[in-house]
């Protein structure tokens, strides 16, 4: 019975793959083409890198909600780690070499994050990549035993976690009198996007690190 069901599932999944493949080979010409529209509106977007323009301007609303998803996941992880066994979450002493390496690398990674944030306006990079590097620095420090696990975040940490979303919301709402949610005046678009990205980098870095520190790093 079990083997029979497995075979059926594998068969159905293969069928799906084949149907998808077949369908992809028989597609018509595009009816709408967005790359040209992105290029045409790039000048008024405030940045010169197309992906950043889509992410933070044309489709910035998606990104706003996505930042909420990230914070939300951390809330879920907090809610669960609160019920975990009360093993004292403390840093375990790591190998001295790892500690030295972490001490050297972490500041470097913060610099790299800053660079990625800055360069995102006109080249690949931006808040998410920068935040990820920042988080990696946090994970590294944790692995080296230099950073304690987060049992529950204090007020300052909560502020840091929420900052990105709050800045983004404030900028979004500031556009309302000018016409619509997330409307950036052309002259200020570049500055506003950088402001949002700076807030996001900090919060995404903290949140991604928190996803690790609150659950994964909690018990050793």
């Amino acid at each position: 019975m079990k083997a029979w069901l497995t075979a059926l599932t594998v068969l159905l999944c293969s069928g799906l793959a084949l149907a998808l493949g077949g369908a992809m080979l028989a597609l018509p010409e595009f009816a709408v083409r967005l790359p040209a529209q992105v290029t045409a509106n790039l000048d008024t977007s405030g940045v010169s890198h197309p992906v950043t323009a889509v992410l933070l301007n044309f489709r910035g609303y998606d990104t706003l909600l996505e930042v909420a998803v990230l914070l939300l996941a951390l809330l879920g992880v907090f809610a669960l780690s609160r019920h975990a066994d009360e093993h004292a979450p403390r840093a375990t002493p790591a190998h001295p070499v790892l500690q030295t390496l972490a001490r050297l690398l972490a500041p470097l990674m913060v610099l790299v994050a800053g660079y990625l944030l800055w360069v995102g306006a006109h080249a690949p990079g931006g808040a998410f990549q920068a935040g990820a590097v920042l988080a990696a620095a946090g994970v590294l420090l944790r692995l080296a035993g230099l950073l304690p696990a987060w049992a529950q975040p204090g007020r300052l940490l909560r502020g840091g976690l929420a900052l990105g979303l709050l800045v983004f919301l404030a900028v979004a709402v500031a556009g309302l009198p000018q016409g619509s949610l997330l409307h950036y005046p052309v002259s200020m678009a570049g500055a506003l996007i950088l402001l949002v990205e700076a807030g996001l980098t900090l919060s995404i870095g903290l949140t991604l690190a928190g996803l690790y520190l609150a659950s994964a790093g909690a018990k050793r």
């Binding site: 799906l16 597609l27 595009f30 790359p35 992105v38 996505e66 669960l80």
Partner: protein, 106 residues
């Protein structure tokens, strides 16, 4: 056939592999891996099909960046739940018994 379409086809295969894994693997960690593979497949299709005429399209690329962040958020929540379940039941799999016969714990 463009290279982009080739990657979209690979995405279809990855989606199917992930789907089969999600349905068939009882171990929660593997289910989480399977979900990530399934998601990667869908992302490849989004960008691959969007660029099937050989023109780089930043719109699906931005969507995939959004999707990757959503995926790690879901993965982290799933792992936290799986660890909690491990602490409570000693197992990293969902109990086989019918959910409506599970005893209440209070």
């Amino acid at each position: 056939m463009s290279a982009a379409l080739l990657y979209a086809l690979a995405g279809a295969a990855l989606f199917a592999i992930g789907l089969a894994g999600l349905l068939l693997q009882p171990h929660l960690l593997r289910k989480i891996l399977a979900f990530n593979i399934l998601g990667s497949g869908a992302f490849l299709i989004l960008v691959g099909l969007g660029q099937r005429d050989g023109i780089i399209d930043p719109v699906p690329q931005a969507m995939v960046l959004t999707g990757i962040v959503v995926a790690i958020a879901a993965t982290a929540l799933a792992l936290a739940l799986a660890r909690q379940l491990l602490d409570l039941t000693g197992q990293m799999r969902l109990p086989e018994d019918r959910p409506d016969t599970e005893p209440a714990d209070d």
